[in-house]
């Protein structure tokens, strides 16, 4: 058969799962070959669709029994290949675990299953005057389980923080199949904090207790159009320097605006070389004051048009262009790479200028969409996959952008995660000692290396190995990392 999983594995899986929850048909399996990052593909050995934590624990125990790796997947929207399956392993898909188990406004928390979408939480509590603060652009699709794995951010994390700041407790299935509760009120090491953002390498979250945030008294969304990125960047510096922490500050350059315009007709001001979206929220008197400040700063820095959303519909219209920007570049380019890097915010102008130089040097267009408030860049590297060598050049530019980020003291990923895509960049940011120390955590949770192996870390040692001598590519890493093109 096409799969590389051991005989008997499927039979054992069927002892705890309905036959409709175990996928073995090769055509069906292939639809799971990649997540949102399509240039890494691997057809999973088996796909399971569990509905309870106990079923996940049972699957993980069967994997342990056979020494087979497993990978968890939510909606498959990740952009770093974090849910890339293993050809020799089991893909555990949480898309059927999408119950909101409880909403407790008095405790400002909700308990949900991992397959619940990020936005579904907000929708469930909106009428009660609350929302779930982290808002990745894919929030209507991406699952909370995936958010926990990736420590997802979003436009509003400038003021409100990331997934890790909003998860209060987790029920996890450990890599050896135990169900364990982690809570932020537990004494001892912050295992909850370490688990969030571990990209599925420390186990699978099966129940998530999230913090609900009170909807602010007022929200003001402002769109400012500038001639170019420089003025926009100066405005951002002046706003932050003025002691204002907006809920979000987002910037798009001319090319990104063009794409968004083509996709969703967002009708941003004509002729804008850059638009800045600033969102302020909080008590009315504070927002009023900040709004006056922000508009003054934008004007002083050359904004030629300012629009203020008068109602939720207009607010949504302003955000629509921004939130659809990634997929929208499909309208202006046959192929593209979404990059995710971080620089200290004050280094933005310099880094953007360098990206522009790279773009011209290699003849590769780069559209810039970014969370300007926290220096999180999302350069969209555009190329034509039909043109010989264009893909390689785009990869090169994309990689050089990450080099720029590291040189400026930033990070190779702000919110998309390392996954399979960026593990090779980890040594640029971290020393062997740093990576080995992180491996100690991995080995504590997953001594057999079965939970999403091959992600995050380049050529990790096995947990039993004595530090010091490195071997070649380990077979555990080598297999399953199918075609990379």
């Amino acid at each position: 058969m096409g799969t590389k999983t051991p005989d008997g594995l499927v039979r054992r899986l069927l002892e705890s799962l309905d036959h409709r929850a175990v996928i073995t048909d090769p055509v069906r399996l292939r639809t799971y070959e990649c997540d949102g990052l399509t240039h890494h593909r691997a057809t999973p050995g088996v796909v399971v669709l569990p509905e309870t934590a106990e079923q996940i624990a049972a699957v993980v125990r069967v994997c342990n029994e056979y020494g087979v790796p497993f990978v968890a997947r939510g909606a498959g929207t990740g952009l770093s290949g974090g849910a890339l399956p293993r050809t020799d392993g089991v893909l555990i898909v949480t898309s059927r675990m999408r119950r909101i188990l409880s909403v407790d406004v008095a405790d400002r928390r909700a308990v949900v299953e991992p397959g619940v979408t990020n936005l579904a939480i907000t929708e469930a509590v909106r009428d009660l005057g609350y929302y779930y603060a982290p808002d990745p652009s894919s929030q209507q699709v991406c699952t909370i389980g995936g958010n926990v794995a990736e420590n997802s951010g979003g436009a509003h994390c400038l003021k409100y923080g990331f997934t890790v700041n909003h998860v209060l407790a987790l029920e996890i299935v450990t890599p050896d199949g135990d169900i364990v509760e982690l809570s932020n009120t537990d004494p001892g090491y912050d295992l909850l904090g370490a688990f969030v953002g571990s990209e599925g390498t420390l186990g699978i979250a099966t129940k998530i207790t999230v913090r609900l945030t009170r909807a602010p008294e007022t929200v003001t969304t402002l769109l400012a159009a500038f001639d170019g990125i420089e003025q926009g960047g100066q405005a951002v510096s002046a706003i932050i320097g003025g002691g204002i922490v907006p809920a979000a500050i987002e910037m798009m350059d001319a090319l990104a605006i063009e794409a968004a315009e083509a996709a969703v007709a967002c009708a941003y001001p004509e002729g804008a070389g850059a638009v800045l979206i600033v969102e302020l929220d909080g008590p009315v008197p504070e927002v009023t004051h900040q709004f006056d400040e922000v508009t003054r700063i934008c004007r002083e820095n050359g904004a030629f048009e300012l629009r203020v959303a008068a109602d939720p519909a207009e607010r949504a219209a302003i955000w629509k262009g921004r939130k659809s920007a990634f997929a929208a570049v499909g309208r202006i380019s046959p192929a593209y790479i979404v990059q995710d890097g971080v620089v200290p915010r004050t280094a933005l102008p310099e880094v953007l200028a360098s990206i522009d130089r790279l773009s011209r040097e290699y003849g590769i267009r780069v559209a810039n969409v970014f969370h300007a408030g926290d220096g999180n860049l999302h350069p969209l590297v555009l190329f034509d996959d039909a043109e010989a060598g264009a893909g390689e050049r785009a990869e090169l530019v994309s990689g050089k952008i990450l080099d720029l980020c590291v040189e400026h003291g930033g990070s190779i990923t702000g919110e998309h995660g390392v996954g399979v895509d960026k593990s090779r960049y980890m040594p640029k940011m971290f020393s062997d000692n740093d990576l080995d120390t992180m491996q100690l955590v991995r080995c504590a949770f997953d001594p057999r290396g079965l939970s999403n192996p091959g992600k995050v870390f380049p050529t990790p040692r096995l947990c039993g190995e004595v530090p010091g001598v490195r071997k070649g590519v380990h077979p555990l890493v080598e297999s399953g990392q199918a075609e990379q093109f």
């Binding site: 008095a106 405790d107 400002r108 005057g129 420590n151 951010g153 923080g161 990331f162 890790v164 700041n165 450990t174 364990v180 509760e181 009120t185 537990d186 004494p187 001892g188 090491y189 912050d190 295992l191 909850l192 904090g193 370490a194 969030v196 953002g197 008294e217 510096s237 320097g241 002691g243 922490v245 909080g282 008590p283 008197p285 504070e286 971080v342 200290p344 915010r345 004050t346 926290d374 220096g375 003291g409 990070s411 190779i412 990923t413 702000g414 998309h416 995660g417 390392v418 960026k422 940011m429 971290f430 020393s431 000692n433 740093d434 120390t437 955590v441 991995r442 504590a444 949770f445 995050v456």
Partner: protein
């Protein structure tokens, strides 16, 4: 420096000295929860800490890192302690990128001097620390937090990067100096609350906030127990509600209303020194228009007691209720009132203080409360809190009291905590036994 008194043999002391780090012999003031080390080292940078740890590894020395020493008596005593690594000389601000709202410091820097540096640029680390002289490293290792945890979270929420030295002398860092960063595991989280049992924190980077334009406190004294018609004081440990129409709503209701208030308070604290009196609730609002927002909060509190607005905090704000016996209580936010009542109804002279909104409360008892009374108190309150979905830990208590109780209560993740400890410190040389379950 002169050669130390070489009780451990010349080769050992020599090895320590050859690191080039200032070493002195330990004195009685250097005891860690009653256990005296043999030497105290005063390193000035991460490299020196690593050198010390390598020597310690070679000679099987048990090590305890210490900052300001303000909480050295917290937690159980270490199983053994040979070397105290005093971080007092690791006290530099490495980088304050004010435009990025980020600071990078050495771990021995005191929170006070950090605040001073940041204030010069109109910024602050929004972490209120209850003790004078506490260092950055100590605050992280003990995971203490103050009133504004309600708005800004605790140390783990503001920490964006750490450098640590492990038991074997390996220096490792994680995170960085940008706020947004998901590359690799977050070792900073792991070391937060580690009580020195995983390694030595030598450097840390934090995200900062601008110092708010203005601040106001709204303080309300709530009626004492037994006052007719108040729901605030039922001693049954259940969340209360107005008992009859027109009666003032209780503490739980007040807490919920304040937490949900559109005035966006930064902190909602309670202080209840004596079961015969009533609790005091104090709320902090910060930022533009603090005054207008304070009035809104005052109006909200008016039904519960006499509320007044002040420009400064009440004297007890952001401090611990006691020194010698200190317990920490955690319950879901809506159960804070129930937890308070359960504690005050136990008949011991308890004093409770802490964050009402996040339901993280500290309880103190007189040190002479007596072993059996203390043990019964801990066990009964733990039962009450268990029913409310919470728990209790003993932060500190005189040995004779602490010996009679389980300091931590049940922790579901203990096997995982143990496995982490085993990987980081297989020789059990880092503050062994100082944290949960003797890790």
């Amino acid at each position: 420096m002169d050669a130390p008194h070489e009780t451990g043999g010349a080769p050992l002391a020599g090895a320590l000295h050859r690191t080039g780090v200032t070493i002195r012999e330990a004195g009685p003031d250097d005891a860690v929860a009653g256990v005296s080390p043999r030497w105290v080292a005063l390193p000035e940078n991460t490299g020196e800490v690593a050198a010390l740890m390598r020597v310690s590894a070679e000679h099987d020395l048990a090590v305890t890192p210490v900052g300001g020493g303000t909480r050295l008596h917290w937690g159980p005593p270490p199983e053994r302690c040979d070397l105290l690594i005093d971080t007092c000389c690791l006290n530099q601000v490495l980088e304050h990128a004010s435009g990025d709202l980020v600071v990078r410091v050495q771990a021995g820097l005191t929170m006070d001097s950090l605040a001073e540096t940041l204030a010069a640029e109109g910024q602050e680390l929004s972490l209120d620390v209850p003790l004078d002289g506490a260092t950055v490293g100590g605050v992280l290792a003990t995971a203490v937090a103050g009133p504004r945890r309600f708005r800004h979270g605790t140390a783990r929420d503001l920490l964006i990067g750490v450098t640590v030295v492990l038991a074997d002398g390996t220096t490792a860092k994680s995170g960085g100096k940008v706020v947004k960063n998901v590359a690799g595991y977050d070792l900073g989280k792991l070391f937060t609350g580690s009580y020195g049992t995983l390694g030595v924190i030598t450097e840390a980077a934090f995200r900062l906030h601008p110092i708010p334009d203005d601040r106001r406190w709204i303080i309300a004294e709530l009626p004492a127990p037994g006052t007719p018609g108040t729901g605030a004081v039922r001693g049954d440990g259940r969340p209360d509600a107005p008992e009859r129409p027109g009666s003032p709503p209780g503490l739980d209701v007040l807490a919920a209303e304040l937490a949900a208030s559109q005035a966006e308070p930064s902190a909602i604290e309670v202080d209840w020194p004596d079961a015969r009196g009533g609790p005091v609730v104090a709320v902090l609002v910060e930022g533009t228009a603090a005054d207008a927002r304070a009035r809104a909060v005052r109006d909200l509190m008016a039904g519960h007691g006499t509320a007044r607005i002040t420009a400064g905090p009440p004297g007890w704000w952001g401090t611990l209720p006691g020194e010698d016996v200190l317990l920490e209580v955690r319950v879901p936010p809506s159960r804070a009132g129930g937890a308070l009542r359960a504690i005050m109804a136990r008949g011991l002279p308890a004093h409770v203080r802490g964050s009402l909104a996040t339901a993280a409360l500290q309880v103190t008892l007189p040190p002479d409360v007596g072993g059996s009374a203390f043990a019964e108190f801990v066990s009964r309150v733990r039962d009450d809190l268990g029913r409310l979905g919470g728990g209790l830990t003993v932060l500190t208590a005189p040995q004779e009291l602490a010996d009679r109780v389980d300091r931590w209560g049940p922790v579901g993740a203990l096997p995982l905590l143990r496995r982490v400890k085993e990987r980081f410190d297989p020789g059990r040389r880092m503050s062994p036994g100082r944290s949960v379950g003797g890790i």
